[in-house]
């Protein structure tokens, strides 16, 4: 097991190297001129050249890449042309916000998706099943930003139960930052009111983010549960008089879960890279908006930072999923 983890971690290096090389090359080969843009419309040619030199962008591309890599090893993620600030400083602000949103969305999707999938499979062709299938289809079809706007209108504007946007009430100071995730930071600070407020801000964007993976997980879970339910050992277990609830959660769930786990792993990466619309609607200061803005201004150091950090998280999360296969099903051997 340890050797397996080590091998996967070592494999992360060529993956990230390849990723960085690709993004760096694309960034430098695009026709735009980010320096001219960052210098502003009124800058003279000399000012533009000076800014280019300040950021080392007048150097040959391979040398720029080498400097970037050696900088990374020393914890220097480069500086943003637009803000002139260090990328790492920005990532420390934006990444935890997005991670909190994605983890909350995944939590909702996984818990609700598995339970609903199980329920639909057990009550196959009953009204619950039809309802779940209809709701899944509707959730997958509905664009996340549109759902976000509807949630805002109903729960924030009409009912006033949740916040319109942002992560915390404007005029209150958030709990001291430890993880950058306000819910966790509130727990660490032991401030329950802050936790409730943070959850009220997190709820709507997390629900908007969760519906699409929720629907997929539900359907996957329903299909695999139905398959498992038809296995001979389930029939045997029933014949042996094992209580239905125990049979479902101890035997059927475990076996039905493996294929759903794969989807969960993939969705995590998909959500991490696809938060921008929900972040826009809910003013969630996350990495999606940061990356989009950087891409639109061809500010490539931030883009590199985002790609590498999301890439790393994606690989690590999928490693965890792979390990979970072994936990759920002891027959799976990780070598």
């Amino acid at each position: 097991m340890f050797a397996y983890i080590l091998r996967r971690v070592v494999l992360l290096v060529p993956v990230l190297l390849g990723l960085s090389m690709m993004v760096f090359a694309i960034g430098r080969l695009l026709p735009g001129d980010p320096v001219m843009l960052a210098a502003g419309p009124n800058a003279s040619r000399e000012e533009i050249a000076a800014l280019s030199a300040e950021f080392g962008l007048d150097q040959p591309i391979p040398l720029q890449y080498w400097r970037y890599l050696t900088g990374l090893l020393q914890g220097d993620w480069g500086r943003s042309l637009q803000t002139r600030g260090p990328v790492l400083e920005d990532l420390k602000v934006y990444l935890p916000a997005t991670l909190e949103l994605v983890l909350a969305a995944m939590l909702i999707a996984v818990v609700a998706g598995i339970l609903l999938g199980l329920l639909a499979a057990v009550r196959r062709n009953g009204w619950i099943d039809y309802l779940v299938r209809l709701a899944s289809l509707a959730s997958i079809s509905m664009p996340r930003f549109f759902l976000g706007l509807i949630l805002q209108l109903v729960f924030a504007m009409w009912l006033g139960w949740a916040a319109l946007g942002g992560r915390f009430p404007l005029t209150l100071s958030p709990p001291p930052s430890v993880t950058g995730m306000l819910t966790l930071d509130s727990l660490i600070a032991g401030d329950m009111q802050a936790l409730l407020l943070a959850l009220q801000h997190l709820a709507l964007p997390a629900i908007a983010m969760s519906l699409s993976p929720l629907a997929t997980i539900t359907r996957m879970m329903r299909a695999s549960t139905m398959e498992v339910l038809q296995q001979d050992y389930v029939l045997t277990a029933r014949a042996l008089g094992i209580p239905p609830r125990k049979l479902l959660f101890k035997h059927v769930l475990r076996n039905a879960l493996s294929s759903t786990l794969t989807v969960i792993g993939l969705y995590f990466g998909w959500l991490l890279g696809g938060t921008v619309l929900v972040e826009t609607v809910f003013d969630w200061p996350g990495v999606g908006l940061y990356a989009t803005k950087s891409i639109l201004t061809q500010d490539f150091m931030p883009v590199m930072g985002v790609v590498l950090s999301i890439g790393t998280m994606f690989v690590v999360f999928n490693l965890v999923i792979d390990l979970l296969y072994g936990v759920i099903n002891p027959k799976v051997q990780l070598r």
């Binding site: 002139r84 006033g160 139960w161 003013d283 200061p285």
Partner: protein, 518 residues
Amino acid sequence: MERRRLLKGAAGSALAVSAAGLSGLALAQQGKKILVIASGQDIPNFDPHVATGYSASMLLRNTYDGLVRVEGNPPKVMPHLAASWAVSPDGLEYVFKLDTAARFQDGTPVTANAVAYSLRRTLRLAKGNAWMIAGVVDPNGIEATDVQTVKFKLLKPFAPFLSVLPWQFIVNPVLVETNKGADDGQEYLRKNLAGSGRFKIKRAEQGNLYEFERVAQPWKAGGNLDGAIWKIVRETSSQRLMLARGDAHIAVDLTSEDMDALKDRPGVVRILEPEFRTFSIKMNTESGPLADANLRKAVSHAFNYKGMLDAAGYAELMVGPLPPGLMSDPKLKVPRTDLEAARAYMAKSKYPNGGVKLTMVHVTGLEQQRQWSLVLLDSLKKIGIDLEIKPMVWPDMVASTKTPATTADFFPVYQTGNYADPDNVAYAAYHSSRNGNWQNPVYKNPKVDALIEKGRGEIDPKKRLAIYTEFQKMVVDDAPDIFGVLEKRRIAMRDTVQGFSFTPVASNAIDLQKLSLK
């Protein structure tokens, strides 16, 4: 039963917090007068000599001071750090007497040395607003003649000098020198303040909000605000909802549709005023078929201006190269839709029968520019010209303007007024030294250049007016642009905000100085 009761209790307490914690919280402010502004733009850099953009201008004009300030409509230059000033008859020497009450936020007086230090730093860094004074102010020509008097010896007369000074902010030299580092204090001032403004930063949450707090004893009288919050709200419809709900007092990035939706909304005041922000479609006067002036004039007369205005929302048509209020000539005859005239110009051009294919670029995703491109396509069809519309991302568009050959036939440009003087628009949009830059990619005419230079050097207002009148006529004769629209600034605020007066320069960079909350 137990569990149900527990759940009920939890739900109840959550709702109670929601009622107390959310609705009304933003505006209750625990008895303090805190103004909340919803804006789409972040403030990533606080350095007054580096940062640009309207959000940075908002932060800087409230945390730092300039020698003078701009207010009113039409904009007027008012004393600020400088209580008074005198200009030599040749326009080369300016002497400012500082207000003796002026204090930096650390309590030390604002001195003439600080003014000299700040302008020299601006010129040394050559970033931010340095372009406004580069080539005009000589770093060695700034002299602190005594603690409260500073003298500028300009390199050449520059009529808009007072108009650019509100955007030249004065830093506390002691603080900057103490934290100078290897980059002239840029790293320090990126996140720290060294100003004399009425407000300081209480909380800065990048990408989320910036909270301002009034300093204990501001050196200048103002409104009753204890503080303000610049809340970043990217979606304009969310800004509108916040304003409607009372979670924000001012929203600065609203669309025409948002303004329509807020009409007659109780408690909301809409501000729809023309600003010095022009939209034109530049034509490639140097390369390709549009190098032919007659073809450009044919295009200018074929263009459907009403169609453009209809798609523009709250806007008015431009009446020449300069916006009204900046010496625009009311008698100037600008092209309006006239197909007969267009055909007459076509007949005089190298392409009397049309059959030309031209290209228009626009910013990907900007719906309004796409619509205007379609208006142009439709207009050109009528005189036998085909148009290819190419959406591009903005950095690619900027890069394409480096040479006439790479510049598209039609290039749309928004030109924001940075200071209240015709020189701002004239120089940026029509002077040939700006060629290779998106504001004026290709257009050059030595006579126009000479007039622009004469205009910025002339300090007699009457003579200036004559110069700019001639300049406008000459530009219209050259037809380098389809003169488009002046979009109205769309700001909405709660009726509890008092003391706001619209100024058509940087009006979305809200000036907190005189604002009060009921």
